[in-house]
Structures are given as C-alpha cells and as structure tokens.
Symmetry: C2
Subunit: 338 residues, 2 copies
DNA sequence: AACGTTTTTGGGAACGTTTGCACACTTTTT
DNA sequence: AAAAAGTGTGCAAACGTTCCCAAAAACGTT
C-alpha cells in the first residue's frame, strides 16, 4: 500500500520547466519571474502538491522535528507543558515527537537515543527521577544536538534551562501551612538527585526557619521512584504517621495524588486531620477529598519558553555559548473550604 | 549546528568496499560472506554507525512512523491508549507522532493533514466531538493511507475499528444506579454525532427498560463540546436539576469530571445527594468527592489492538478488504463507601 | 584446459528535494 | 557599438540509502 503524490519532477515535466525552476518558484525565490511563479503555484495547487518533507530533510540535513522526553504524559503537569511546546513548535513549523521515560533511567536513555537516531533537530527533556548519569546526553550535545532542560534540570550542564521558582513555591506552601496553625509539618519529596528536590526542600526549610520551627530531618521522606509505585508511598506514609504530623508538604504532582491515596487507603481516619499542601497541576484538584492547597506550576508557559530557547539554538548560525536559566513563578491555590 | 555521523559511504571507503556491500552486510543479507560481514559490523560498531532513517525512508518510501490523533493527552483515557499504542509500535520498530484535536474539527483536520504530509505510514484516530464530515479522511484513505479508528468511530467507513462495549458498559452503570434504588436517572452525554453517544444512550435506555422505568428524553443532555467548556456543563446541570434526578449517568471521561465540578460549584448542597455513575479512566477517581461509580474502558488494550490492526494493514502486501470491529469489555468499578 | 556454477562483490540508478554554477537573453552603461 | 550588468532559466551534483544488474572470483565438472 503506497501513496502516490505528485512531485516537483511531475510539475516540471507537465509545465515544460526544470525542477530547479519549479523548486524555486514554490519557495518564492526572487530569481523567478512573477509569471512563472503564478503558473507553477497554480498548477501545484491544482494537483494538490505537497512537498515531501523526507526528501527535504535529507537534503537539508535536518528534520524539522523536536523530541520531548517527559516521565508521563498522563501527568497533568507534563501534558500542559507539552501543550505549551506544541503551541510554539507548530507555529514555527516544527513537529514534536513525544516519548515517556516512566521515571526509568533506562527508558529515558533508550528513548533519547531512539529520537536522536530519528534525526531530531533538538531535544526538550525533564529528567526521570532515577537519572543520575547524564553522560549520554553530554555526548549527544557535544555532537551538536541542541538540548534544553525543563523542570528537572541537571546542575552541571551548560545549556538553557527552564524551571519553576521551586524555592518560592515551596516556601509559600509551607508558610501557608504554618499560618493555618500547623507546627509539625512533614515533607514528602522525590528522589534526592533531582534538582527540584533540593530546591523545594530549601524552600520548606526556609519557611520553617522564618517561623522558628525546628527542622527535623526525620519528617522528610524521599521517594526514589517519584511515586510510580504505590508501595513506596504507603511505606513513606507509614513511617511518617507515628511522628504525628499535623501538616504535610508534598513536592510533586504524582507524589501529591499518590500520597493522598495512600493516606486514605491506610489511615482513612487521619486523612482528613492532616493539612495537605502539595505541588500539583491536576485540573481535578477541586474534586479531591481531602482537599488540599496546591502549588501550580506555569506548565504551559514553561513549555513555551523552553521551546523558544530550543528553536533559537537550533536556528543559531554559530554555536551558542551564552545560556540562561529562566525561572517562572508558581501559583498558590488555597484549599477549598471543606 | 549540525551532527556529523559516519555513513555507509565512509565505512565503504575506510574498508575498501563498495556501498552496496556495506549496506548488505549491515542488513545481514545472505549474499555477503561471513568474513566481510564481520569486518563491516566490527567497523560499524567502532565508529558507532547509525543508519540515517531519513535516507532510508526516502528510498523505501515509508517513514516507519504512525500518527495518533486524540482529543487530549491530558485525558487519562487517551494517555492510557497511547501507552498501549507505544507498547506495540516500539516493539515493531515504529515510532509514533501524537497530535491533539482539543475536540475541534478544524484542529483535527489540520493535524491529520500535517501528519499525512509528514509521510506517516498509518493513522490511528479517535474523532473529535465536533467532527461530522470525514471526507478528508476518506480521501487520504483512498490515496492509500491505512487508518484505524478507535473509541470514537464513524459508522460509514470501511476499515478496522476498535471500540469498547459501550452498550454493555452503559447498561451496567445504569443498572447499578437502579439497583441502588434510583428511579429518576439523568443522562449527560457527548455530542449526538459520535458513535459512542448513540451506543451509550442505547445501553442506558435498555437498562431503564429492563426495570420498567420510563425513558424521559428531557433527562438526556447533550454536550456539543464534550465538556471542553465549563459553561456548557453548568448549563446542562442547571437544566437537569429542576427535574430532580436522584441519579445521573455520564457518558464520558471529561464530562464526568466536568459535571461533578459543575455540580459542586453551582449546587454544592445537592452534589452529594445525587448518585453518580460515569465513564472515566481517571486514576484519581478514588480521591473524588462526591465519590462515584465508574465505567473503566480497557484503554491500554484498546491502543494495543488498534496498533496491531494498523500495522497489519501497513505491512499487508495486497490491499486489505476484510475489516473487523473489535469490541472490548469495560469494567464497572463500584463507588467507594463514603 | 575449457567450461559452467555458485558465491561474492561493485557500479550506478533511484527516492524527491535544494542549490551552485553556467548559460542565454535583455537592458543599461560607457 | 561594445561592454557591463541584470534577469530568468536549466544542468547537474548532492543528501544517505537500497537494490537491480553485471562482473569478478572461486570452485567443480567434464
């Protein structure tokens, strides 16, 4: 089963022109006379000519596509980021190829390499919670693949990055819990090697410090798999509850929903006693019970900004050497009344 | 900024062979001696040779990629379907390009045509709730683009289709409401022109009939935009409530969550009095309040089955003329106790 | 020793574009 | 009137593959 579509050659033959003339006419080059252009354009329209992007890619040595790696598209935060990415990419005539790491380093690497072999022109990536070794990315980068990190960014990699103001977001959420009278505030967070984990922890600590509440390390629980396994969360909850927290600040989308589920499942009676604040971009948060205060990241905008940066790298004539890290503000959405 | 990678030509030159020999050796053809194969393979490994998929696509006139159109990846149902699709596609060495219609006919058409011009080998599509005219799909299909529909399928299009057992799913959900004592059961559903709308309505009606409950058309509300606009839902809720329903059966994911939100927002006091049953694949359903009984579609499996069918079409030597419509069973997840 | 077979290799066209260069024809400048 | 400049077009190579066809090498048979 195969398409047959008309090519530049067909048009050239039909019109008694050369392929070069047709090609130039279609791309509206100045060398071609208005007359010829009109002729070609009209005929192309008539036969519904579509340039073959594959041939073009081969010739121009680029694919007009950018790769995206996120842990899960089912995660509202990431799907919003992707929407932001698409909004810019389609505008600039790129298309996007999305792949999921499912928080696995192996999957992430496999996907990136698959995309790279597919000749993507650039890569947008949020690291998986497992990822520690990013040498494979360095290699691709050294070979000339533009990369922009967002959300979960590595510290030691010189390129553009786009992140939320994790410190402030965490500070605000924690402060909110404190101001509503909580004093024993636990912190449930992602794997320690993620950038966001460190920043969010710092925000949490700063808020405690501001109100002279002692920081107790045992109130902080790290989840290696970012909440992909419910067992991990139930374990964390089990370890936390004996410390009698009256509030809990949770550092990521998946963990937030997962934690509430674990709480409801294992200790339904206390689920409603503990005040919860957490990062989440779920658009269903109004439906949750217990309800919670959420820190929303500007996901759509993050996708847009990252894509603009990436495309600027892709289209730069000379290698880019000045990099920026854009920091976008989060929004605190206070808990709905019960 | 450009990659430089080694090509078959480079290998041929380095080894003093011809490109044809190298090409054949790499693809492990029988004509090439073991010795040469080893030589080539070893060298290819050494220089980390990766075949250029673009060149291959151009030569073979196919791209090894399949297009996916869904209304929204943020919708859990669709993201699960996509996971199913990927699981099969990657296995068979295809990659996938995802595009979103956001329930808009215009977007859908634009995306499909964009994908088609990108030389996808086949298309997997769930129609947008706005879509009525699928001539553009017919044209592509006639030109040789294999298409498989899933979830929202058109009636009059001869190709493979994969759907859930919408009738039975709806019947079960409605019956569940009846068995828990409800008698005035409203039905909130999608745009009338969707296949799923008709099937789900029929299931609802059949359940009513079985228990000799009169079908009242005024209890059925159609949402043209599939719940993409909250105003639409609030309007529907507003019209429904005066009829004093004691139960409501909702026919799609987005509508289910949207309806509960509208209910909570406009009439919080009655939100908990009405029993709710609805289609949804949200994995957060346990957190919802009010809680609900949900009809879960076998989304992952649906993606897998659709992909297998599509790839079989793509790889068929002769045009396929025998088509099947696979129907997969849904699962009723009863409401958690309050 | 001459011939046929079989196995292994190479030459070169093709896929559909883009683009540097050359060419022919006009028009302007000197 | 010749030279220079400008305009519009075509030729052909290139991008990295695959594959048809032919050629060369190796072997066996008479």
């Amino acid at each position: 089963m195969r398409f047959e579509t008309s090519t530049i050659k067909d048009i050239a033959k039909a019109l008694g022109l050369s392929t070069s003339t047709v090609s130039r006419a279609l791309r509206d080059r100045y060398e071609i006379s208005e007359e010829t252009k009109k002729l070609v354009l009209a005929y192309a329209e008539k036969v519904n000519y579509r340039a073959n992007p594959i041939a073009r890619s081969l010739k121009e040595r680029r694919s007009y596509s950018i790769g995206i790696i996120v842990s899960e598209i089912a995660n509202n935060f990431f799907s919003q980021v992707i929407n932001g990415i698409e909004s810019i990419a389609y505008d600039k005539d790129y298309h996007v190829i999305i792949a999921q790491s499912h928080e696995s380093y192996k999957q992430e690497k496999l996907n990136v390499e698959h995309l790279a072999s597919r000749s993507i022109d650039g890569l947008l990536i949020a690291l998986s919670s497992e990822t520690q070794d990013i040498d494979y990315l360095r290699q691709l980068y050294a070979k000339g693949l533009p990369i922009v990190f967002f959300d979960r960014v590595p510290g030691d990699f010189e390129t553009h990055k786009v992140i939320a103001n994790n410190f402030k977001g965490s500070f605000d959420a924690t402060e909110h819990l404190i101001l509503s009278g909580k004093r024993t505030i636990a912190h449930l967070t992602n794997s320690e090697n993620l950038s966001i984990t460190k920043e969010r922890l710092a925000g949490y600590q700063a808020a405690l410090a501001k109100y002279h509440i002692e920081f107790r390390p045992e109130l902080v629980k790290y989840c290696q798999h970012g909440g992909m396994h419910s067992a991990e969360l139930e374990q964390a909850v089990k370890e936390l509850l004996p410390l009698k927290p009256d509030g809990i600040f949770i550092a990521s989308d998946r963990l937030t929903t997962g934690c509430i589920m674990a709480l409801k499942k294992t200790n339904p009676e206390v689920a409603h006693q503990i005040a919860i604040a957490g990062f989440t971009n779920s658009n269903l948060v109004e439906l949750f019970s217990p309800s919670l205060t959420s820190v929303k990241q500007p996901a759509f905008e993050m996708g847009q900004v990252a894509t603009e940066l990436l495309i600027s790298m892709i289209e730069a004539k000379r290698p880019v050497t000045e990099f920026e890290t854009k920091v976008l503000d989060t929004e605190l959405v206070r808990m709905a009344k019960r």
